[in-house]
């Protein structure tokens, strides 16, 4: 992991990887969405609305996966003081929040024809909404700490308080996951687990394409945002160095003049 602690080494890998992840992800998710819209049959109970599954499920997984990434980055930042961990946390936050919002919106749209309601204050939906608010809090804290230059090593990362917030917020992840088991919920129980799926293969298969596609696309966006943060950081460091050099040259000149004036007097 420390092999990538050097931003220059990280950028050598990230630059060629970004377009591959982006275009590969986009191709897979478009293919998966088209297959889900055009090729799969309607569900015998849900009807055509089951097709929303191909975007709702990847969005839910990436919303939760995003916060897992942020919490892991916070742990790495606090324990090993990895210089890129805070940058990664900041870069994950906005796409993670977007996918959490997409999950909530597509779930709500699916709920109207299926349950007869846009929203229900049950465990799954409420804990997912809490995750969105956690993202908003993290984004605000990360921006404030970056603006104050309080990131680890001043490399555009996040403050210690922001990292602790990320770790504490991770408690919401098992609550989201188990909410449909612990509480009575309108939301269906876990249909895809490590033991297999209760969804018929005729409907399930395009989901693999959209999950992989959205995941690669998510990776590309995180790399783009990390590269932007590192470049901004480089600009700030260079401008600060130029200002210091200009100041010291100016002081050197005025000091010399003062010395000359002293000699004349």
């Amino acid at each position: 992991m420390h092999a990538f602690a050097n931003p220059a080494r990280f950028l050598r890998i990230a630059r060629p990887l970004t377009p591959w992840l982006f275009w590969g992800g986009l191709a897979l998710l478009v293919a998966g969405a088209l297959c889900g819209l055009l090729l799969t049959p309607a569900d015998y109970l849900q009807g055509e609305s089951v097709r929303i599954l191909y975007i709702h499920v990847p969005a839910a997984w990436l919303g939760m996966g995003g916060w897992t990434g942020i919490a892991f980055a916070a742990l790495v930042q606090m324990v090993w003081r990895h210089p890129l961990a805070g940058v990664a946390g900041r870069a994950i936050a906005v796409p993670g929040a977007l996918f959490t919002a997409i999950c909530l919106v597509t779930g709500s749209i699916w709920g109207r024809p299926t349950w007869g309601t846009w929203w229900e204050w049950d465990g799954r939906m409420t804990s997912m909404l809490v995750l969105l608010f956690l993202y908003f809090g993290y984004i605000a804290l990360a921006r404030a700490s970056a603006a104050d230059g309080r990131g680890i090593g001043d490399n555009g990362g996040v403050s210690r308080v922001t990292a602790i917030f990320a770790l504490v917020g991770a408690i919401n992840l098992p609550i989201i996951n188990r909410s449909v088991v612990w509480w009575n919920s309108l939301h269906q129980g876990p249909s895809i687990t490590v033991r297999g799926s209760t969804i018929d293969m005729a409907i399930l298969w395009p989901l693999g394409l959209t999950v992989l596609g959205f995941s690669l696309w998510f990776g590309a966006i995180v790399l783009m945002r990390m590269r932007a943060i590192l470049a901004e950081n480089k600009i700030e460091a260079r401008l600060a160095r130029m200002a210091r050099e200009g100041l010291s040259e100016g002081m050197g000149e005025s000091g010399g003049e003062g010395a000359r004036e002293g000699r004349v007097a």
Binding site: E48, S49, I52, L98, M224, R227, A228, A231, E232, I235
Partner: protein
């Protein structure tokens, strides 16, 4: 009930969100890297 307007709305909003974030992230990266390169060449 016709489900297709709901399906189109869900896919449309997802496309809008992902496309918007793609463009914003790409532009932010390009502009920041171009400014960093210009500053490096200036010195």
């Amino acid at each position: 009930m016709n489900h297709w307007p709901y399906i189109i709305a869900a896919y449309g909003l997802t496309a809008l969100g992902t496309l918007g974030l793609s463009v914003a992230s790409w532009r932010a990266m390009r502009e920041a890297e171009a400014r960093a390169d210009a500053l490096r060449r200036e010195r």
